[in-house]
C-alpha cells in the first residue's frame, strides 16, 4: 500500500491505495464517493469520467498514483452541493437520465465540453460526447447541453480550495 494525498472536490484527503490502483476505485472505495461509476473498466464507456484540473479523464484506467500532486479532481459530487450547476439544472429540466448509471460521467464530459466551447454546435457535441448510454439518452443529452449553454456561460468548475490539513 502507498500513501496518497488527493484533492477531491476541494478536500485534501490522505488515502492509502495499492501502487497501481485505478483512480476510480480510490474515489469510490477509499474516499467513499460512489457517484462515479464503474462501467467497462477499459476506458470505453465513460461512466467513470471525472475532471482533473478541468480535463475529463477516464478514471478506470488512470492509476491514482499518476495524478499530479496538487491536481484538482472533480467528481459529480463536487459539481455543486445543491444541483445548481447549469449542466445539472439543464439535465433535470430535460429529464435526460433513464436508468441514470452513465449520467455522472456524461454530465462531467458535458461540463468539460462547455468549458472549452461555451456554445457548442451539434457537431461539437457529437465529436466530444463519446460516453455510452445503454438507454439511448443521446437526443436529450444534446438538448440539455444546448440548454446549459443558454443557462449560463459555464465556467470550469473550480474546486474549493483544499482545506488545510489532510482528511483521514
Amino acid at each position: 500500500m502507498a500513501s496518497l494525498t488527493l484533492n477531491i472536490n476541494g478536500s485534501r484527503q490522505a488515502l492509502e491505495a495499492e501502487a497501481d490502483e485505478p483512480l476510480l476505485w480510490v474515489i469510490r472505495e477509499r474516499a467513499g464517493l460512489t457517484g462515479t461509476k464503474f462501467g467497462c473498466g477499459v476506458a470505453a464507456c465513460g461512466a467513470c469520467t471525472v475532471l482533473i484540473d478541468g480535463q475529463p479523464v477516464r478514471s478506470c484506467v488512470m492509476p491514482a498514483s499518476a495524478v499530479a500532486p496538487g491536481a484538482s479532481i472533480t467528481t459529480i459530487e463536487g459539481l455543486s452541493s445543491d444541483r445548481s450547476h447549469p449542466v445539472q439544472r439543464a439535465w433535470i429540466e430535460a429529464q435526460v437520465p433513464q436508468c441514470g448509471y452513465c449520467q455522472s460521467g456524461m454530465i462531467l464530459a458535458a461540463v468539460a465540453l462547455l468549458s472549452a466551447k461555451p456554445a457548442p454546435t451539434d457537431a461539437d457535441i457529437d465529436a466530444s460526447m463519446l460516453n455510452l448510454c445503454r438507454c439511448g439518452t443521446y437526443p436529450r443529452v444534446r438538448q440539455a447541453i444546448h440548454a446549459a449553454a443558454r443557462l449560463a456561460t459555464v465556467a470550469m468548475p473550480t474546486p474549493r480550495k483544499a482545506a488545510d490539513g489532510a482528511k483521514p
Partner: protein, 195 residues
C-alpha cells in the same frame, strides 16, 4: 589486426580507388537502404495510425477507424470534451489502452497516407517525409533526433498489450536500427527512390 580494422582500411583504400561518381553511387545506395528501413517503420500501424490524413486516428493492425468515432480536434489532441489523454495515460494500461505522455496525433502535414487508410510509398512518401514545409521544419538531421528522442516514437517498441492480453506488434526493425537507418539516410544527403 582485427577484422574491423582490416575492414576499415580496405574500405578506405577502396574509397580512394573508386571514381567520385562510383563513391556517390555507393553513398546513395546506402542512403536508399536507410530510407527503405525508415519506410518499413513509418508505414507500420504503430506509427501511421496516428500519422493519418484524416480528421480522426486509426487503431489496430488492420488500421480501422478509432473506436467511438474519436476525432482529431483543433490541435490534434482530440475534441474539447474528449481529449486523447482522457483515456491514453502516461503509460500503457493493464486494460489494454495504450499510453505515453502527451498522446496526440501527428499534424496533418506529417500524414503518411496518400488516401484514407492507404499509406504513401516510395518516392511520394520520401518527398513528403523530407518536405520541410510540411514536416514541421524537420531537416533530415532533425529527423534523426526525432526518431531517437520522441517518446511517442519510442512507444512503438513498447506498445503494450491489446485488451485481450496479446502483445501488440512493434515495427519490423528495432528502434536503434531505425535511428541508425535515419542517420545513414541523412548522411547520404537524404536520397529518395525514383518511384
Amino acid at each position: 589486426m582485427s577484422a574491423a580494422r582490416v575492414s576499415t582500411v580496405l574500405g578506405a583504400l577502396f574509397g580512394l580507388l573508386l571514381p567520385a561518381t562510383a563513391q556517390e553511387r555507393l553513398a546513395r545506395d546506402e542512403g536508399l537502404q536507410g530510407w527503405r528501413a525508415i519506410e518499413s517503420v513509418i508505414t507500420h500501424p504503430r506509427c501511421i495510425n496516428c500519422h493519418t490524413a484524416t480528421d480522426y486516428p486509426r487503431q489496430g493492425d488492420e488500421k480501422r477507424r478509432h473506436d467511438f468515432r474519436v476525432v482529431r480536434g483543433p490541435d490534434g489532441k482530440g475534441a474539447p470534451g474528449a481529449p486523447c489523454i482522457s483515456c491514453h495515460q502516461a503509460a500503457n494500461g493493464p486494460a489494454g489502452v495504450p499510453g505515453r505522455a502527451h498522446w496526440h496525433l501527428a499534424p496533418l502535414g506529417m500524414a503518411w497516407e496518400r488516401t484514407p487508410g492507404m499509406a504513401m510509398r516510395g518516392a511520394q512518401l520520401c518527398a513528403a517525409f523530407k518536405d520541410q514545409a510540411r514536416n514541421g521544419h524537420h531537416t533530415p538531421q532533425r529527423m534523426v533526433e526525432h526518431h531517437g528522442s520522441e517518446p511517442l516514437v519510442a512507444w512503438a517498441w513498447e506498445p503494450g498489450t491489446r485488451p485481450d492480453g496479446s502483445p501488440r506488434e512493434p515495427p519490423p526493425i528495432t528502434h536503434a536500427e531505425l535511428v541508425a537507418a535515419t542517420q545513414r539516410w541523412a548522411a547520404a544527403g537524404a536520397p529518395c527512390p525514383s518511384k
